[in-house]
């Protein structure tokens, strides 16, 4: 990976010029404003009636992270977020909250890949002394900001990725050599709901009053197969080199299946059918509002027709692959008072092709049976005809005790050499952190597998529904692809989607999040702590009592006839008091005699003949 980071550093220089130019153009338009805002929507019709829509709102702020006065005045950049970033010295922040699982094999790569649940990774600025403390405070702040349970990202689910999560923005020389300043954590069980959408919408300058965000309809979103909220903040220059700047990318993408039970046909779609409404306006603050429809697969043999006619259609060659985009400049439609309702009408559904599988996709699952031992296997498929280097990262909770010596990377039964970074877990303190770097051989499936033993938790450590199981976050597979097949993200170091249209990079960073897993742990009986405590203490007390008895007392000889049982002792007590009465009253003599006879009988019964301790 050292080569990649080295590569990224020299890459950074060329990117820096591009950003600079881009910046000059934008400032000439609005020279007074230090920040600019664009809103974009990418629609990608997929096979089987799936539509992928990616909303992206980008705020570029021409300000220095290190200037203390930067965060005194806010314009388009959301103040709530800005204050958190400055308070905790955040260099870069990437948050995603996702519901559902992205199926790379069928759907290709999304613009920002995200695992099920919540994922947060943060690079802190070098000025931070205690990174763990800053992280703890930050997750609490972010958790409040987005109404999510990110505050549960404690040391038990946080790691410092060694190779996988490099800074996405530009960073000072040597900053990212060690992983001292980065923290990564996931909450695979986190559920994304409207309560997360509302605070997220508030970050947008237009809220949902105008522009693309008017299409946000909670009902339609939660109806989708998959939806993901994202937030990405990254500097667009090293801290001490102008132009300073921050990119805030808020993304929302989701996936609709219009026809659940029809696999061969596709049905017509439109903005109205997808979002419940057409687009009536563009955000007046936005410097640009555009909608892009990727029509790559529709070029050779048109299966559907787009209405209205796009403003322009652009074909771009990214690496080895050609991509065609139909671009709509929303303003040109809405300014004349017409609403924009982009629609795809299928005239020949038979021409809809299944997507080619993407270059790399993965499938991960739990192996084993019973609640004792288990294993994790991840099958990574390479469909390219060349070796492809990937970095595999897996984080497992401490209670799945991973055996490092069981780790194997195999391709077709042959061992694949790999480079590994492994941090074993500490009980109740930190998780297992595994990172592997290895080659995927051409047209093959590589299996990463290891085994684990389930730990037994204390009864208070189980969640309320203990038998539901415990979630294990997704594995992350990162790679630099040589081809842009099924790739939809903007080039590295760029944020806006329209940068795709003039992309001339030759490699593409892809991050594939695999399935998250559920493991059941053996459970104790939650209903009987008192019984268990009593019973165990009883057994200990038996030992203590017996040994105490035998070591502190002596054997003595006893005449059984002299020995008195408990009953006779009690009777004897009463007899004595009766005798005293007898002195006073002689008339009860007969009764006393009867009593004595009875007592003798009792003694015979009560006296055991065997020796007892």
């Amino acid at each position: 990976m050292a080569t990649t980071s080295g590569w990224s550093r020299c890459r950074a220089v060329s990117v820096y010029f591009k950003v600079f130019l881009c910046f000059l153009v934008s400032t000439s338009v609005s020279s007074k404003q230090k920040d600019s805002f664009t809103e974009e929507l990418l629609i990608k019709p997929l096979s089987r009636g799936y539509i992928y829509s990616h909303f992206q709102f980008t705020t570029k702020w021409n300000a220095s992270l290190h200037d203390p006065t930067t965060f005194h005045h806010f314009h388009l950049f959301p103040k709530a977020l800005g204050e958190v970033l400055s308070r905790y010295n955040v260099q870069e922040l990437h948050l995603s909250q996702t519901q559902g699982l992205w199926r790379h094999k069928q759907w290709g790569y999304p613009v920002h890949d995200a695992p099920p649940g919540a994922e947060l990774w943060v690079w802190f600025r070098p000025s931070v002394k205690d990174v763990d403390k800053a992280w703890t405070e930050l997750v609490n702040a972010v958790s409040g900001l987005f109404c999510s349970s990110l505050n549960f990202l404690d040391s038990r689910s946080t790691i410092a990725p060694r190779w996988s999560f490099r800074p996405a923005g530009l960073a000072p020389q040597g900053y990212s050599v060690s992983s001292h300043f980065v923290r990564y954590g996931t909450l695979p069980r986190e559920i994304v709901c409207t309560e997360n959408l509302t605070p997220w919408k508030k970050l947008l300058p237009c809220d949902s009053k105008a522009g693309l965000s008017t299409l946000f309809n909670a009902f339609h979103f939660h109806d989708a197969n998959y939806h993901s909220l994202g937030l990405h903040v990254r500097p667009i220059s090293p801290s001490n080199v102008p132009p300073y700047g921050l990119f805030l990318t808020t993304t929302f993408f989701f996936h609709h299946c219009l026809q659940m039970f029809c696999f061969s046909c596709c049905s017509d779609w439109s903005l109205r059918s997808l979002f419940g409404n057409h687009l009536a306006s563009a955000c007046p603050i936005a410097s640009k509002t555009s909608i892009m429809v990727e029509t790559t697969d529709n070029e050779a043999s048109p299966a559907y027709r787009l209405t209205p006619t796009p403003t322009w259609t652009h074909t771009v060659t990214r690496g080895t692959g050609q991509h065609t985009y139909s671009v709509y400049n929303v303003r040109s439609f809405t300014e004349v008072g017409r609403g924009l309702n982009i629609a795809g009408t299928y005239n020949d559904p038979s021409k809809v092709k299944e997507l080619d599988p993407p270059p790399i996709h993965a499938h991960r699952y739990i192996t084993g049976y019973g609640l004792e031992d288990g294993g994790v296997s991840c099958l990574i498929t390479n469909t390219l005809d060349r070796n492809q280097t990937v970095i595999y990262m897996d984080v497992l909770p401490w209670f799945t005790r991973v055996f490092f010596n069981s780790l194997t990377v195999q391709n077709n039964g042959l061992d694949v050499p790999f480079k590994v970074h492994f941090t074993p877990a500490k009980d109740r303190v930190r998780p297992y952190h595994l990172e592997l770097s290895f080659n995927l051989w051409p047209h093959s499936v590589t299996r990463v597998s290891f085994s684990f033993t389930r730990a037994f938790l204390k009864w208070t450590e189980y969640p309320p529904d203990a038998n539901h199981g415990f979630y294990i976050g997704s594995a992350v597979i990162s790679s630099m692809l040589p081809t842009s097949r099924q790739y939809s993200a903007p080039p590295l170091y760029f944020s806006k989607l329209d940068t795709i249209l003039n992309d001339n990079s030759s490699s593409y960073l892809v991050r594939v999040h695999s399935e998250s897993l559920v493991v059941s742990l053996p459970t104790p009986d939650f209903s009987m702590p008192y019984n268990v405590i009593c019973l165990a203490c009883t057994v200990v007390a038996i030992a203590f009592g017996s040994i105490h008895n035998l070591t502190t007392r002596r054997f003595v000889k006893l005449d059984p006839s002299q020995r008195k049982g408990l009953l006779s002792k009690v009777k004897g007590f009463f007899k004595r008091s009766k005798k005293e009465d007898e002195v006073a009253d002689d008339s009860n003599k007969t009764a006393a005699a009867e009593d004595a006879a009875c007592q003798e009988k009792e003694e015979d019964i009560a006296d055991p003949t065997e020796e007892t301790s």
């Binding site: 019973g370 490092f404 009980d427 037994f456 053996p522 702590p529 035998l550 054997f555």
Partner: protein, 438 residues
């Protein structure tokens, strides 16, 4: 004749183990919580080797809990014929050898002690006086109790490193009998270094070396006595410090202390085993946890005090009782510990006639041995039972062990009483008297 029998017995035990090694039994036993614990599992030792090979400290994780010197030393296991299996068979052979030697020496010791004390015995105790003939079979029985005991066979097959602790304890016992203070304290410190609890065996060791140095038996708290204790303890701590120091040198940090002794003392791993700790601390309320950990750990060692007072003249019986009690109440007990006390148990065969509930205890042992794997399977794999079933069995097993050790204690004391008071106890009127604890 007897010698040939002994060899045959040892050989048969070994062959039995070799034969069973070719079955599926070893792989099954390696997953049985009664046989291997997180402390003694060979799978975890291998994990330690793998981590070390990767230049990751095995102590940075929570899987490996062997001591640093064991980590270095156990690598020799791979140089044995049949690799690790061969290593454990070799350990077994050594254990059998020293067990036999120990029991031969112990029989001699018993007769010697009896001759010294004979004049104090009652004249009516002839029937229970030991003779060389009555003790002749003891070494063979001891050997049989190890070589044919299912528990020790399981320990060997499962490649439990508990076998190493057992061997060091037997060596301690052997050199104690030999009166070799240097080697005895050395092996004692090795076994304490390896599994911590043998630390309290310093009490019988110190008492015996006092007795050896002053056969006339002065007061146990005189200046000479204290100086003898100090000598023994000093040797022990010298060796222990040496071992710990070497560990530090080999590991380069003190991290191992928490992973080994901290792991034993604080009981963070609640994997089921045949002891009383695991379910108790699973179900314990968090704010009482520390208190009860202290109480339970104290419970494992506190018996050294009353027993030492009672048996200050009988250090071997004291040592055996301590071996027994710690193997019941240690935080991660297993069948390896049970196999140790079972193999030493026949040394006190002369007291067995005084035991009262051997049938009940025997039944409990058999029931637990059979039911424990079944109920564990029902809980973990079949899902048709819950943790309470297995817990009940482990409690019964602990209770059985407690009954056995207290019964043995009773039998020993009762026999002592008979030695001094004769076997016939009559009242003044000639009727049979009853002997009770006052």
């Amino acid at each position: 004749m007897a010698a040939a029998g002994v060899y045959l017995l040892g050989l048969f035990g070994l062959l039995l183990r070799v034969g069973l090694n070719f079955t599926h039994l070893p792989s099954w036993l390696q997953t049985q919580n009664e046989v291997v614990t997180p402390l003694t599992s060979w799978k975890r030792v291998e994990e330690g080797f793998a981590l070390q090979k990767q230049l990751i400290s095995p102590y940075s994780g929570d899987i490996f809990h062997e001591t640093p010197l064991a980590l270095q030393a156990l690598k020799i296991a791979y140089y044995f014929p049949w690799k690790v299996t061969g290593f454990f068979l070799f350990l077994d052979l050594l254990t059998m050898m020293f067990l036999y030697k120990t029991s031969v020496a112990f029989v001699r010791h018993l007769i010697q002690v009896q001759n010294e004390e004979k004049k104090k015995y009652s004249t009516k105790a002839e029937s229970i006086i030991l003779t060389t003939d009555s003790l002749a079979w003891i070494p063979t029985i001891v050997l049989a109790c190890y070589s044919l005991n299912p528990m020790s066979i399981m320990t060997t097959l499962a490649m439990s490193t508990g076998a190493i602790s057992n061997l060091t304890i037997i060596l301690t016992f052997y050199y104690l009998l030999q009166g070799n203070r240097l080697l005895c304290t050395f092996f004692l410190s090795v076994s304490a270094y390896q599994s911590l609890y043998p630390l309290i065996f310093i009490v019988p060791v110190a008492l015996y070396f006092l007795k050896l140095s002053r056969p006339s038996m002065p007061s146990l708290v005189s200046v000479q006595a204290v100086s003898s204790y100090v000598q023994t303890c000093a040797l022990f701590f010298l060796f222990s410090a040496l071992l710990i120091g070497l560990s530090f040198v080999s590991e380069g940090s003190w991290e191992f202390l928490y992973s080994t002794y901290g792991f034993i003392l604080t009981v963070p791993d609640l994997t089921p085993n045949c002891g009383v700790f695991w379910y108790f601390f699973t179900e314990m309320f968090d704010h009482f946890r520390t208190f009860f950990v202290c109480v339970f750990q104290l419970n494992a060692v506190v018996y050294a005090v009353p027993l030492a007072v009672k048996f200050s003249e009988k250090p071997f019986f004291l040592m055996f009782l301590l071996i027994f009690v710690t193997s019941i109440f240690k935080s991660y007990p297993s069948y390896a510990d049970a196999s140790l006390y079972f193999s030493l148990l026949p040394l006190w065969k002369h007291t067995f006639s005084y035991m009262r509930n051997t049938l009940v205890v025997g039944g409990m042992y058999v029931c637990c041995g059979v039911l424990a794997p079944i109920l564990y399977h029902l809980w973990i794999f079949a899902g048709s039972a819950n943790a309470n079933f297995y817990f009940a069995i482990t409690l019964t097993y602990s209770a059985a062990q407690i009954f056995l050790v207290t019964d043995l204690l009773f039998a020993y004391l009762r026999r002592e009483y008979d030695l001094y008071n004769g076997t016939e106890h009559q009242n003044k009127d000639g009727s049979k008297a009853q002997i009770i604890l006052e």
